[in-house]
Symmetry: C2
Subunit: 343 residues, 2 copies
DNA sequence: TTGTAGGCGTTATCAT
DNA sequence: ATGATAACGCCTACAA
């Protein structure tokens, strides 16, 4: 194992001062051309690489952002991460990641670590069970900007990029009612989630637009586990007036519900039409997918979060912005039909 | 913006030496109980958090690994990332990520950055077009262990975790031949990829096992773009003796090929049976998915890569291991039928 | 144009 | 049990 070359080493060999080397490597104008070239030559020979850890330490800037998401293996989050990484790398920023796996303790520890690392900023989609927001105030104290993404805590004065579920839900209801459906089921998520409340409110509003009375039996919910997804669908199937259409909390819920239909010899989108909030990019190309998806554009949302974050990072450096404008961008979700996609 | 508290600040307030504070915060036994408590008290009051950038710099250790993958939005890689992150976090390591997007230049620049950051180790799945392996030698010089994952460069003396495609392919051929298929098509990827060569060799071997002559017309390839996927399938459909079964390079290829079948009023798995190498975790639950998938267990592979990497990191610290054993773990891929899964 | 010196926050090694 | 000091690698005012 060779010793890793440093500026000092280069300086020693050239019998010049370390600061001269430092300046030469940066192309500082005051350093003579000959010296600069000699320095670069030796640097190349030694395979010198600057030590970022030293630079971070000195400059109190890491050129690194943190991204905390519940689960990278979820297509929704991974495509967001993909967009964020791409954006950050174009800004010459690095990306540090953590996944909470819906565990608030792990989330907290990730955020603590990121705080200790003095990251320049953080994008986070909080876990389902996060109730303690103290850590976010901490981050504010440490002057580390935070942008929330998709899953927003109930706090004021925060920056976020999220998606308005109502627009997509209304489009879905419109679409179904136009096709003649009146018994529209909703398999919702756990009601303590804001996302579930939003879906329910929009569902109610949608039916209300057509003066269709709300039938509470048609509204079931699941904790999003497979078992409960099945149970919820079973509940709908057992109704006297079985729904002719179902809107599912997300694709995974739809998948399980559709599985159950098959088990009962029912055909998806013939016996019961399905629409689900989108996670999976694959379904739009499948035959027996839901009839339509309600898209939330995770990648776009992620990139927007990154945009906001980089504005904040830039603003922080300037120290000029006295008025803390809170960037709160809300995209409209949108229903996308799966008929005749792509080919 | 408050000033971020440091050890010095605590020391000043308590009128003790900084080293005392440092030791107290670490629970060093030589520090008196009273002092330790006083230090902790003030540290809490000031919301002191240790500055990792300083520690990294001083200790020449970052407790951070880098993960470089072609595309986070690909389910195969994102589930690997999920496994790696989970494993690393259990070892109290942080994860730095980069996605090459199949661009060797970007890949190189990511690796350079990681080298500059003095990461403790790197897991990488190289881009399709990477031909210059010099950077990996560089990393070796910097004593940064590298474990390759799934996409392995043609180098000696490397560590990797990969997947043997042959076993799954043979199972697929077995399965199809047993069902009476003799005309089995192969939609392969670009032939310069090792992954394509492996598939082809295994395909040939599989047919050979049954003394079925290779019909080169049944072997088509695509650069994995949608257009070429369609073209490849069109080619197969236009044959006089159209295949009764098709094995596809991966799920995305299968998706497009299956789309084309639908367009031609052919029914998947009735008119032509499909088996594809797995990317998408969703398909095993769908009705009109391929008949079976050949699983490569990305998460398991990723975790194994992480295991190898952490062994290397541990070994590097000890400086004892004189014999550089190269960990090269190869999983068997395995065909998984999609009939009656999960429910 | 180049050298000198000080410091970023922490910790290890002395000494007391 | 605690203090003093130096060092990690780099950068930058200031001096020359």
């Amino acid at each position: 194992m060779e010793k890793i070359p440093t500026i000092k080493e280069i300086a020693k060999r050239l019998k010049v001062n370390a600061s001269t080397v430092s300046r030469a490597l940066h192309g500082h104008p005051s350093i003579g051309l000959v010296t600069t070239m000699r320095v670069n030559k030796v640097a190349n020979e030694l395979n010198y690489e600057r030590n970022q850890t030293a630079i971070f330490f000195k400059q109190r800037k890491t050129f690194t952002i943190g991204v905390v998401l519940p689960d990278f293996s979820d297509a929704f989050f991974s495509s967001a991460l993909s967009g964020i990484e791409d954006y950050a790398s174009k800004k010459n920023y690095n990306v540090f990641v953590g996944q909470s796996l819906e565990n608030p303790d792990k989330e907290k520890s990730i955020l603590d670590t990121m705080k200790n690392h003095r990251l320049d900023g953080i994008i986070i989609s909080i876990s389902k069970n996060t109730t303690d927001y103290e850590v976010f105030n901490q981050l504010k104290k440490y002057n580390i900007p935070v942008v929330f993404f998709d899953r927003i805590p109930d706090m004021e004065d925060i920056h976020y990029s999220a998606c308005n579920l109502q627009s997509g839900m209304l489009q879905a209801v419109d679409c179904l009612v136009e096709k003649g459906h009146r018994n529209i089921g909703l398999i919702n998520g756990p009601l303590h989630l804001g996302a579930s409340k939003e879906r329910l409110a929009a569902y109610n509003k949608g039916l209300n637009n057509y003066s269709i009375a709300i039938n509470t039996q048609l509204i079931v919910s699941s904790d999003l586990s497979a078992d409960q997804n099945y149970r919820a669908m079973r509940q709908l199937l057992s109704l006297k007036e079985r729904p002719t259409a179902v809107i599912a909390f997300n694709d995974y819920v739809a998948r399980d519900a559709m599985s159950l239909m098959k088990k009962n010899d029912l055909v998806v989108n013939r016996d019961i039409s399905f629409i689900s909030f989108a996670n999976s990019p694959i379904w739009s190309f499948m035959d027996n997918s839901p009839m339509a998806s309600i898209e939330q554009f995770p990648q776009k949302q992620g990139v927007k979060a990154a945009e906001i974050l980089f504005e904040l990072i830039a603003g922080r450096n300037e120290e000029t912005s006295s008025a803390p404008a809170f960037n709160q961008v809300i995209f409209d979700s949108s229903m996308v039909s799966h008929h005749g996609k792509r080919i």
